[in-house]
Protein backbone atom coordinates (compact mmCIF):
# COMPACT_ATOMS: atom_id res chain seq x y z
CA UNK A 1 0.00 0.00 0.00
CA UNK A 2 2.32 2.58 -1.20
CA UNK A 3 -0.48 4.73 -2.47
CA UNK A 4 -0.72 6.72 0.68
CA UNK A 5 2.64 8.27 0.00
CA UNK A 6 1.35 10.41 -2.80
CA UNK A 7 -0.63 12.59 -0.45
CA UNK A 8 2.53 13.88 1.06
CA UNK A 9 3.60 15.60 -2.15
CA UNK A 10 3.78 19.31 -1.45
CA UNK A 11 2.68 21.82 -4.03
CA UNK A 12 3.55 25.43 -3.42
CA UNK A 13 3.33 28.24 -5.91
CA UNK A 14 6.57 30.20 -5.95
CA UNK A 15 5.81 33.72 -4.87
CA UNK A 16 9.29 35.15 -5.00
CA UNK A 17 8.68 36.89 -8.31
CA UNK A 18 5.30 38.26 -7.27
CA UNK A 19 6.58 41.78 -6.56
CA UNK A 20 8.23 41.87 -9.97
CA UNK A 21 4.99 40.97 -11.70
CA UNK A 22 3.11 43.55 -9.69
CA UNK A 23 5.68 46.21 -10.49
CA UNK A 24 5.40 45.39 -14.16
CA UNK A 25 1.64 45.87 -14.04
CA UNK A 26 2.13 49.02 -12.00
CA UNK A 27 4.47 50.53 -14.54
CA UNK A 28 2.06 49.66 -17.34
CA UNK A 29 -0.80 51.45 -15.65
CA UNK A 30 1.34 54.41 -14.67
CA UNK A 31 2.42 54.88 -18.26
CA UNK A 32 -1.00 54.39 -19.79
CA UNK A 33 -2.87 56.57 -17.32
CA UNK A 34 -3.87 59.93 -18.68
CA UNK A 35 -5.36 62.10 -16.02
CA UNK A 36 -8.42 63.79 -17.37
CA UNK A 37 -7.55 67.27 -18.48
CA UNK A 38 -10.94 68.80 -18.97
CA UNK A 39 -14.25 68.49 -17.25
CA UNK A 40 -16.44 69.46 -20.18
CA UNK A 41 -20.17 69.79 -20.15
CA UNK A 42 -22.66 67.11 -19.38
CA UNK A 43 -23.86 65.84 -22.71
CA UNK A 44 -25.53 62.68 -23.93
CA UNK A 45 -23.55 61.62 -26.96
CA UNK A 46 -25.39 60.33 -30.01
CA UNK A 47 -24.89 56.73 -31.03
CA UNK A 48 -23.64 55.31 -34.29
CA UNK A 49 -22.62 51.95 -35.71
CA UNK A 50 -19.71 52.53 -38.05
CA UNK A 51 -17.37 54.34 -35.70
CA UNK A 52 -13.66 54.79 -36.00
CA UNK A 53 -11.08 55.18 -33.34
CA UNK A 54 -8.90 58.24 -33.19
CA UNK A 55 -5.34 57.06 -33.49
CA UNK A 56 -3.64 59.82 -31.59
CA UNK A 57 -4.64 61.87 -28.65
CA UNK A 58 -1.89 64.38 -29.24
CA UNK A 59 -3.57 66.38 -31.97
CA UNK A 60 -7.06 66.17 -30.61
CA UNK A 61 -8.85 69.17 -29.23
CA UNK A 62 -12.17 68.67 -27.51
CA UNK A 63 -15.20 70.86 -27.92
CA UNK A 64 -18.36 70.36 -25.95
CA UNK A 65 -21.70 71.63 -27.16
CA UNK A 66 -24.64 71.24 -24.83
CA UNK A 67 -28.31 70.98 -25.61
CA UNK A 68 -28.94 74.71 -25.11
CA UNK A 69 -26.09 75.76 -27.38
CA UNK A 70 -23.41 76.41 -24.77
CA UNK A 71 -19.95 75.83 -26.15
CA UNK A 72 -17.04 74.80 -23.99
CA UNK A 73 -13.45 74.62 -25.16
CA UNK A 74 -10.74 73.87 -22.60
CA UNK A 75 -13.28 74.36 -19.80
CA UNK A 76 -14.03 77.88 -20.91
CA UNK A 77 -17.49 78.83 -22.00
CA UNK A 78 -17.35 80.60 -25.31
CA UNK A 79 -19.74 82.43 -27.55
CA UNK A 80 -20.02 81.29 -31.15
CA UNK A 81 -18.12 84.39 -32.32
CA UNK A 82 -15.09 83.54 -30.19
CA UNK A 83 -14.74 80.01 -31.52
CA UNK A 84 -12.96 81.15 -34.63
CA UNK A 85 -10.09 82.95 -32.90
CA UNK A 86 -9.59 80.18 -30.34
CA UNK A 87 -9.58 77.45 -32.96
CA UNK A 88 -7.35 79.50 -35.23
CA UNK A 89 -4.74 79.77 -32.47
CA UNK A 90 -4.93 76.02 -31.87
CA UNK A 91 -4.67 75.34 -35.56
CA UNK A 92 -1.64 77.58 -35.85
CA UNK A 93 0.12 75.70 -33.07
CA UNK A 94 -0.79 72.31 -34.43
CA UNK A 95 -1.44 71.97 -38.15
CA UNK A 96 -2.62 68.40 -37.69
CA UNK A 97 -5.40 69.44 -35.37
CA UNK A 98 -8.44 67.22 -35.11
CA UNK A 99 -11.51 68.68 -33.47
CA UNK A 100 -13.42 66.15 -31.44
CA UNK A 101 -16.96 67.40 -31.19
CA UNK A 102 -18.87 66.19 -28.18
CA UNK A 103 -22.31 67.52 -28.82
CA UNK A 104 -25.52 66.48 -27.15
CA UNK A 105 -27.73 64.32 -29.32
CA UNK A 106 -30.63 66.71 -28.98
CA UNK A 107 -28.72 69.74 -30.20
CA UNK A 108 -30.23 71.58 -33.12
CA UNK A 109 -28.25 71.29 -36.32
CA UNK A 110 -28.33 75.08 -36.63
CA UNK A 111 -25.78 75.37 -33.83
CA UNK A 112 -23.67 72.57 -35.27
CA UNK A 113 -23.74 74.17 -38.71
CA UNK A 114 -22.72 77.55 -37.30
CA UNK A 115 -19.88 75.76 -35.55
CA UNK A 116 -18.89 74.11 -38.82
CA UNK A 117 -18.73 77.50 -40.47
CA UNK A 118 -16.54 78.87 -37.67
CA UNK A 119 -14.22 75.88 -37.99
CA UNK A 120 -13.99 76.40 -41.73
CA UNK A 121 -13.10 80.03 -41.22
CA UNK A 122 -10.44 78.98 -38.71
CA UNK A 123 -9.16 76.43 -41.23
CA UNK A 124 -9.61 73.58 -38.77
CA UNK A 125 -11.17 71.11 -41.11
CA UNK A 126 -10.67 67.73 -39.50
CA UNK A 127 -13.68 66.94 -37.38
CA UNK A 128 -14.57 63.87 -35.41
CA UNK A 129 -18.11 63.55 -34.10
CA UNK A 130 -17.79 61.78 -30.81
CA UNK A 131 -20.37 59.03 -30.54
CA UNK A 132 -21.29 56.03 -28.49
CA UNK A 133 -21.44 52.53 -29.84
CA UNK A 134 -24.94 51.57 -30.83
CA UNK A 135 -26.23 48.65 -28.82
Amino acid sequence: MKFSRKEKAKSAIPTASLPDIVFMLLIFFMVSTVLREYQGLSVILPSAKKIEKLETKRHVSYVWIANDGTISIDDKLLAMDDVRSVMYEKRKNDPQLIVSLRADKGTNMGIITDFHQELRKADALQVNYSTKTEA
Binding site: L18, P19, V22, F23, L25, L26, F29, M30, S32, T33, V34, L35, R36, P46, S47, A48, K49, K50, I51, E52, K53, L54, K57, V60, I98, S100, L101, A103, D104, K105, G106, T107, N108, M109, G110, I112, T113, H116, Q117, L119, R120, K121, D123, L125, Q126, V127, N128, Y129, S130, T131, K132, T133
Partner: protein
Protein backbone atom coordinates in the same frame (compact mmCIF):
# COMPACT_ATOMS: atom_id res chain seq x y z
CA UNK B 1 36.88 50.80 20.59
CA UNK B 2 33.26 51.76 20.65
CA UNK B 3 33.35 52.91 17.08
CA UNK B 4 34.31 49.53 15.74
CA UNK B 5 31.23 47.99 17.22
CA UNK B 6 29.00 50.51 15.60
CA UNK B 7 30.32 49.63 12.17
CA UNK B 8 29.46 46.00 12.59
CA UNK B 9 25.82 46.82 13.06
CA UNK B 10 23.92 45.92 9.98
CA UNK B 11 21.16 48.17 8.73
CA UNK B 12 18.56 46.55 6.53
CA UNK B 13 15.32 47.83 5.15
CA UNK B 14 12.58 45.30 5.66
CA UNK B 15 11.30 44.20 2.30
CA UNK B 16 8.48 41.96 3.34
CA UNK B 17 5.81 44.58 2.70
CA UNK B 18 7.20 45.66 -0.65
CA UNK B 19 4.64 43.64 -2.55
CA UNK B 20 1.84 45.15 -0.48
CA UNK B 21 2.96 48.67 -1.26
CA UNK B 22 3.23 47.85 -4.93
CA UNK B 23 -0.24 46.33 -4.89
CA UNK B 24 -1.64 49.44 -3.25
CA UNK B 25 -0.13 51.66 -5.92
CA UNK B 26 -1.34 49.28 -8.59
CA UNK B 27 -4.90 49.43 -7.31
CA UNK B 28 -4.71 53.22 -7.21
CA UNK B 29 -3.69 53.41 -10.85
CA UNK B 30 -6.20 50.75 -11.85
CA UNK B 31 -8.98 52.79 -10.34
CA UNK B 32 -7.90 56.16 -11.71
CA UNK B 33 -7.22 54.94 -15.24
CA UNK B 34 -9.96 55.86 -17.60
CA UNK B 35 -9.37 54.31 -20.93
CA UNK B 36 -11.92 56.50 -22.58
CA UNK B 37 -11.68 55.83 -26.22
CA UNK B 38 -12.06 58.64 -28.66
CA UNK B 39 -14.49 57.06 -30.97
CA UNK B 40 -16.65 58.68 -33.52
CA UNK B 41 -17.33 59.55 -37.10
CA UNK B 42 -14.60 61.45 -38.87
CA UNK B 43 -15.29 64.05 -41.48
CA UNK B 44 -13.19 66.60 -43.29
CA UNK B 45 -14.97 69.88 -43.81
CA UNK B 46 -14.62 71.68 -47.12
CA UNK B 47 -12.15 74.54 -46.94
CA UNK B 48 -13.46 78.06 -46.67
CA UNK B 49 -13.81 79.92 -49.95
CA UNK B 50 -12.93 76.84 -51.90
CA UNK B 51 -15.72 76.35 -54.34
CA UNK B 52 -15.13 73.72 -56.92
CA UNK B 53 -17.45 73.19 -59.80
CA UNK B 54 -18.75 69.67 -59.77
CA UNK B 55 -20.69 68.13 -62.57
CA UNK B 56 -24.30 67.66 -61.64
CA UNK B 57 -24.22 63.95 -62.34
CA UNK B 58 -21.50 63.53 -59.74
CA UNK B 59 -23.55 65.01 -56.94
CA UNK B 60 -26.27 63.48 -54.85
CA UNK B 61 -28.28 65.76 -52.61
CA UNK B 62 -29.37 64.39 -49.29
CA UNK B 63 -31.70 66.61 -47.34
CA UNK B 64 -32.87 66.10 -43.77
CA UNK B 65 -35.73 68.23 -42.53
CA UNK B 66 -36.65 69.29 -39.01
CA UNK B 67 -38.88 66.25 -38.54
CA UNK B 68 -36.01 63.95 -39.49
CA UNK B 69 -37.43 62.97 -42.85
CA UNK B 70 -34.87 62.29 -45.52
CA UNK B 71 -34.96 63.32 -49.15
CA UNK B 72 -32.42 61.78 -51.50
CA UNK B 73 -32.37 63.39 -54.95
CA UNK B 74 -35.91 64.72 -54.53
CA UNK B 75 -37.23 61.34 -53.48
CA UNK B 76 -38.25 60.61 -49.90
CA UNK B 77 -36.35 57.70 -48.39
CA UNK B 78 -36.30 55.83 -45.11
CA UNK B 79 -33.19 55.95 -42.96
CA UNK B 80 -32.43 52.25 -43.26
CA UNK B 81 -32.76 52.41 -47.06
CA UNK B 82 -30.06 55.08 -47.34
CA UNK B 83 -27.18 52.63 -47.12
CA UNK B 84 -28.24 50.20 -49.93
CA UNK B 85 -29.34 53.02 -52.23
CA UNK B 86 -26.11 54.95 -51.77
CA UNK B 87 -24.14 51.76 -52.28
CA UNK B 88 -25.89 51.21 -55.59
CA UNK B 89 -25.28 54.78 -56.65
CA UNK B 90 -21.62 54.52 -55.74
CA UNK B 91 -21.28 51.36 -57.76
CA UNK B 92 -22.75 53.11 -60.75
CA UNK B 93 -20.60 56.20 -60.23
CA UNK B 94 -17.58 55.90 -57.92
CA UNK B 95 -16.92 59.63 -58.20
CA UNK B 96 -20.23 60.48 -56.59
CA UNK B 97 -20.21 63.18 -53.93
CA UNK B 98 -22.97 63.14 -51.38
CA UNK B 99 -23.99 66.55 -50.19
CA UNK B 100 -25.77 66.46 -46.85
CA UNK B 101 -27.99 69.40 -46.07
CA UNK B 102 -29.93 69.74 -42.86
CA UNK B 103 -32.56 72.08 -41.50
CA UNK B 104 -31.54 74.33 -38.61
CA UNK B 105 -33.94 72.47 -36.34
CA UNK B 106 -32.88 68.96 -37.27
CA UNK B 107 -31.71 66.95 -34.30
CA UNK B 108 -27.98 66.22 -34.11
CA UNK B 109 -28.69 62.53 -33.54
CA UNK B 110 -30.57 62.39 -36.84
CA UNK B 111 -27.62 63.92 -38.64
CA UNK B 112 -25.27 61.40 -37.05
CA UNK B 113 -27.64 58.58 -38.06
CA UNK B 114 -27.56 59.72 -41.67
CA UNK B 115 -23.78 60.16 -41.59
CA UNK B 116 -23.50 56.70 -40.08
CA UNK B 117 -25.52 55.22 -42.94
CA UNK B 118 -23.25 56.94 -45.45
CA UNK B 119 -20.19 55.57 -43.68
CA UNK B 120 -21.69 52.11 -43.76
CA UNK B 121 -22.15 52.48 -47.49
CA UNK B 122 -18.43 53.31 -47.65
CA UNK B 123 -19.11 56.77 -49.02
CA UNK B 124 -15.90 58.70 -48.57
CA UNK B 125 -16.84 61.81 -50.47
CA UNK B 126 -19.31 63.44 -48.15
CA UNK B 127 -19.84 67.15 -48.08
CA UNK B 128 -21.79 69.20 -45.56
CA UNK B 129 -23.79 71.95 -47.17
CA UNK B 130 -24.92 75.12 -45.48
CA UNK B 131 -28.62 75.29 -44.79
CA UNK B 132 -30.34 78.20 -46.46
Amino acid sequence: MLRKKERDREAEIPQGSLADIAFLLLIFFLVTTTIDMDKGLSLVLPAEGQQTEVAKKNISNLLVNAQGQILLDEKPIKLRDVEPVIKQKLQANPKLIISVKTDRRTEYQRYIDVLDELKQANATRVSVAEPE
